[in-house]
């Protein structure tokens, strides 16, 4: 790609990201809304937030959850990816969509599901109490929130690591096997170290995701008053009756500032990423590793228990809840079975439109986003320039901001920049916001796939006389196809379950499911939310199965 094109693409991306971010930073330094002429420069908002003991409590809880999530999700997710991609574990074919399923549903919904199943009077809790003994868990505790967040993020690690493992030639593993290494030794000594960039990306991503955990702490931490940074922010927005934007902005700025050192660490790890080149010109079919009987059973048991806790319990809970008028002590499940929750939902035109819009934005919108990310990925691919480094840092900023805040910032950008105002009430505004929020994921996934393609192949094409553009189109892009499909699946899922980001952006006719769920959750009953969640689960499940089929056909 020519230098000018690279600079243009990277420069405009940075601009699009930095405008809303800069607006939030500016807002944090004022005494009132930025558009209010009476607002003056001041550090008062920082004083207010940093002087609040509940803020520091929330920070402590957040770090506790971030670290816990990394400790749980990274090893288990990597192990799972190795098992599925590189071994003969039984049931692999149907396992992949099931493995991804915790990502299908927003955490707030899963959390409601857990209340139905594992809460003090939940179905599993009552069963356990009757037949086994007093339960060893208390759902509304910090530890339980940590464990559930960790188990919930195994698929995120899985996706990154599995995508990298798929692009890895199996010759090195075979060499290890021939030299007498067992499957565990191959995994720990050969395969996983070879995909270290993917594992490290995933680690840092999961740590970031710890910062943005909202659903689990909101639902499970609420009755005990356990708050994390996002729920602190949420109640900060609620408690004054009118939102104090400068305080919200301070919390967002704090979170962004905390992430900069993390990015520096990540860059340090990845400096010599060329070392990890493993898709080479020499073709070799991937061969799977035989696990042997005991390991096969152990791996099946591990996957089954995880799926039970992370998927079957909460999804079963929320789906069951959506078909019940009520549940609990003294209520027979059979008696309260009903379709009324769904009927109520489909009487509302806004909800019908919400379903259609969510499908549109998650399929078409996500596809266009992948195209945008691929372009950016190619523009920075093996480009040692300050521009590339600047981009690397900037893309993480919007992700670090809570969805509610970046949504608010994008809303303001569309409101106060006259050229954009006509687009404000279209799905385009929501698509832009989603694309900005998810840019880090998309680009990481794509550049992870790009890094694994050996420069020899590109150089060969160039030597044979192909232009840089032609090399990209004929060599690089086809080789990263599995990375692109994975990115599309990831974004499809992300866009369908996205909620806070569009809360300020949707207009009559551009409602999206997730945002409607948020507004319902503040006033409506859980019955409606449960029905919406079930619709959401079905939508995503259909889409993911389709995507996986497409992925298979092309592979």
């Amino acid at each position: 790609m020519p230098r000018l094109a690279r600079t243009l693409i990277v420069g405009s991306t940075i601009l699009v990201i930095l405008v809303p971010v800069a607006l939030i930073v500016y807002q944090s330094l004022l005494t009132g809304p930025f558009y209010d002429a009476a607002a003056a420069f001041s550090l008062d908002a920082f004083g207010t937030v940093f002087g609040d003991p509940r803020f520091w409590q929330a920070i402590g809880n957040t770090l506790f959850i971030c670290i816990g999530m990394v400790v749980i999700a990274v090893p288990l997710g990597s192990a799972l990816a190795f098992l599925v991609v590189r071994t003969d574990m039984p049931g692999k074919a149907w396992l992949e969509p099931v493995i991804l399923s915790p990502m299908f549903i927003s955490a707030i919904v899963l959390a409601f599901g857990y209340v139905v199943v594992l809460g003090p009077v939940g179905f599993v809790t009552l069963f356990y109490r009757t037949y086994i003994g007093p339960p060893f868990w208390f759902l509304y505790s910090r530890e339980m929130i940590l464990v559930l967040c960790g188990l919930n993020h195994i698929p995120h690690v899985y996706l990154y690591v599995a995508a990298a493992l798929r692009n890895l030639g199996s010759d090195v593993e075979e060499a290890a096997r021939i030299s007498g290494a067992g499957p565990i030794k191959v995994a720990l000594g050969v395969s996983l170290p070879l995909v270290r960039p993917a594992v490290l990306y995933a680690t840092i991503m999961v740590f970031f995701m710890g910062f943005e955990q909202f659903g689990f702490p909101l639902v499970l931490g609420d009755p005990q008053g356990i708050s994390v940074i996002t729920t602190y922010l949420y109640t900060l927005a609620q408690q004054f009756g009118v939102p104090k934007y400068q305080l919200l902005a301070v919390v967002a700025v704090f979170i962004m500032a905390a992430t900069i050192p993390l990015v520096a660490i990540q860059r340090h790890f990845l400096k010599a990423s060329e070392r990890y080149v493993s898709v080479k010109g020499k073709g070799s079919a991937q061969r799977v590793i035989a696990l042997g009987r005991p390991l096969r059973w152990a791996s099946i048991a591990f996957v089954a228990i995880w799926l039970l806790v992370a998927v079957v319990f909460p999804v079963g809970g929320i789906v069951l809840r959506s078909f019940l008028s009520a549940w609990g002590v003294g209520i027979s499940v059979i008696d309260s079975l009903t379709l009324a929750n769904f009927r109520d939902i489909f009487l509302l035109p806004s909800l019908q439109r919400g379903v259609i819009n969510s499908i549109l934005i998650a399929t078409l919108g996500a596809a266009v986003s992948v195209g945008v990310f691929a372009l950016i990925g190619l523009a920075t691919h093996r480009w040692k320039s300050p521009w590339a480094r600047a981009l690397d840092y900037s893309i993480l900023l919007p992700r670090a901001m809570p969805g509610l805040i970046i949504g608010l910032a994008v809303f303001w950008v569309f409101l106060f920049i006259p050229v954009l105002t006509p687009l404000r009430q279209t799905l385009f505004a929501i698509w832009i916001a989603y694309t900005i929020v998810w840019i880090a994921y998309g680009i990481r996934l794509i550049s992870g796939a790009l890094l694994q393609i050996s420069p020899d192949l590109e150089e060969a094409a160039r030597v044979a006389g192909a232009s840089p553009g032609r090399t990209g189109a004929d060599i690089t892009v086809p080789l990263m196809r599995s990375g692109l499909v994975a990115a599309w699946v990831l974004l499809y899922i992300a866009f369908v379950r996205e909620y806070a980001t569009a809360v300020y952006l949707f207009a009559p006719g551009t409602e999206v499911l997730g945002s409607l769920m948020i507004t319902l959750s503040s006033t409506g009953s859980i019955s409606q939310i449960a029905a919406l969640s079930t619709i959401n689960i079905v939508l995503v499940a259909v889409g993911v199965f389709a995507a996986l089929r497409i992925g298979k056909i092309h592979a």
């Binding site: 609420d222 609990g328 003294g330 105002t421 503040s522």
Partner: protein, 363 residues
Amino acid sequence: MKRRLAVLGACIGLLPIQAGAQNIPADYPAGYSDMISDAKSEGSVLIYSSTESSSVLGLIERFKEIYPGIAVDFLDLNSNEVYTRLTSEMAAGVRSADLIWAGSDSVSQLVDAGMAMAYRTPELPHLIDGVVWNDMAFGVTIEPVVVVYNPRLLQDDLVPGTHGELLDLLTSKASDLRGMVGTLDPRRSAAGLAYSMADSDEDPEGTRKLIQAFGGAGTMLYSSTSSMVEKVVSGEHAIAYNVAGSTASKIAASSKGNLATAKLCDYTLHLMRTMMIPSKAEHSNAAKLFLDFTYSKEGQDILAKTPFGTVREDVENDPALAMPAECPEARRLFSPGPDRLRTFNEDARTSYLATWQKAFAGQ
């Protein structure tokens, strides 16, 4: 022939006005039909509402039947989103809501900030007192703030009938009720703060004791009503205090007998869902039409069948929303007006929360 055509033409010309005029009550002002035709040329009314559309679908549908050609664009939002959208959009000078439908607190705040348009509704003579403030804030429904409980867990004779009885229940059964009681957290919920401050205004000493008793019974503090009420239905909690009556009665209807409500007879707070026409509303005629229809006999009859109570003197309330016969004087209205601005006052908030926190900790 020519003359006949001219007569026919005149009749056709008159037709729309005639059709509209049929619906206009006799006591409406003379220019009302002009307002209707202006509203029809506006073509739509954009409503930002924290009153969920699913509860008022009947009202919207009937409005569209009576005024074909005026679309109702209804955005379900929470009260913070209503505020943020309206104030930001007004500051940017772009299209925003024609009608706001939110709590009396939020609307009073917006009126106080000078964002409302004044309008004298012709339905005013039919409304109860304390519903309209300065022709700018219009309370359109009334609902009690209630105690909800699970009848399987709380025997009839223990159900409190006054704040004093609630206090007795919490102190005498503190250990049985540990973890079984819920209420809104005034530190994290604006509604929770408004209720608690109103309680304290009504009876400062009694409220302080009640908060101490909540603390002593290990009460769970929530930031949202829906999950709190769900937990009473499921039996995780036996009782929850200060729940909006519309939410409670909607959930009670499908709770298989696991949720009942109680109104306290010494006094019971009553919420008002309140409308406002923003000063820069582009379709203000359509908004006025929608407001007047909401206040009309027909509109209030429709609303009285939803979980909301009426503000008209000539419409019968759902018995679930009416106060018990033995305490007709116990109703305390959250009327829109200067009183509703206090929860937004930083000093009043901070000092009340300090008192609350001490009381909850047992001091």
